[in-house]
């Protein structure tokens, strides 16, 4: 019984260490509040950030451990093992403002001052962001076991032990 159990567990461990889930999964998350995701060490994940096409530019703050970065979407990053936080940092948008200017025209020795209203574009930056960002998580693959080498070694040891026990019983 022990021989059979060792052999079957050994084969299972080796199989699990070689396997991974390779069918990709894609999810889009709408980020309005800070979004946190913990990436395991066994997964390969890509995050694609984008905003909707308005005249507003949203900046994203990404925090990962001690690392903080402000980026402007669209942007693609590889998510490594650990905790990642995505939050909307600020947004900028052009604001059309109006002002009055005095324009002086000299005509036939007469100086005429005309008051004109002109518009100008002002870039406004605000931390009270109202527009969301979109984070598309693309999970490429996920390994089954974290300690692959260890399970392979354990599996091989178990198989060898079962063979050894079998031979000992036989001879």
């Amino acid at each position: 019984m022990i021989r059979g159990i060792l052999l079957s567990i050994g084969i299972t461990l080796i199989s699990l260490s070689l396997l991974s889930i390779t069918s990709p999964i894609s999810n889009t998350i709408i980020v309005t509040k800070p979004y946190c995701i913990s990436i395991p060490s066994t997964a390969k994940v890509i995050a694609i950030m984008y905003e909707n096409s308005t005249n507003v530019t949203v900046y994203v703050k990404i925090i990962h451990g001690n690392f903080t970065k402000i980026i402007r979407p669209p942007c693609t990053i590889m998510l490594t093992h650990g905790k990642w936080i995505f939050e909307v940092y600020n947004e900028t948008y052009p604001k059309i403002s109006y002002r009055s200017i005095n324009e002086t025209i000299i005509e036939k020795n007469v100086t005429i001052i005309i008051q004109k209203t002109v518009n100008y574009t002002n870039i406004v930056t605000t931390n009270n962001a109202t527009y969301p960002i979109y984070v598309r998580l693309y999970i490429k693959c996920m390994k089954i076991l974290k300690f692959q080498e260890l399970s392979e070694i354990l599996g091989i040891i178990m198989i060898i032990s079962s063979v050894f026990l079998y031979l000992r019983k036989r001879f």
Partner: protein, 245 residues
Amino acid sequence: MMRSRNYQIFSVIFKERFREPTLEFIIPLMLSSNVFINAFYERGNFTIYGIILAFIPLISVSETIAFALALRNIIFVTGDHIYRGSIISFLTFPIKRTDLFLMMYFSDVITPYIIWLSTTEAYILMSGIPVPQFLILIYTIGYFFTENIILSIALTFKSAGIATLLSSFIIGLLFIFGGMLNYYELTQGYHVLGITSSLNPYVLLLYEAVNRKTLPCIYEGITIELIIATVTFFFSLNKFKRLEI
């Protein structure tokens, strides 16, 4: 070295339930079926929600196997001995009935649980997935709750068919309708959620995962399950001690 008599009797009982190649088949199956934890975890964007889904009985293959193995042992091995009269061989061993019952209980119920626990914990360790131990506790209490009910039924109704049908019906009713009741309670107001959570605590766990809120009444449910499991265990022990063949 001459092993003790009780050990030899236990060995006879154990070997009868786990002849070759039962363990050679069950242990790797339970170990490998835990890949669904990875799949659900990945699908759930690496959140606790996916992990909880993976640990719901009937969805989790290894939990279902452990439950089914214990049910088979109780109804179709121990129960079968009682229904056919071959329990006489064991009752005429030089051992107290209480000890015999405990040996049978260990082989029938505790061994499948130990196999499930060790394969699951080993898998959690090797995969690195952060499974909260609370899920293990929930399944443990639920497992003994259901298996002790099945044992009481098997010892009360001396027929394998009746025991199987009645057990499946009662456990299925509790789990499925309990889940529906919990859902209703969660959406309509928590009137008796503490009591209904004992029937199917997984609905509450999913609620906690989705809403990121903790529900203290889940502990009431676990306590009720534990009490029922204990009462049914002692009921079965008493029934076995007074068994007349």
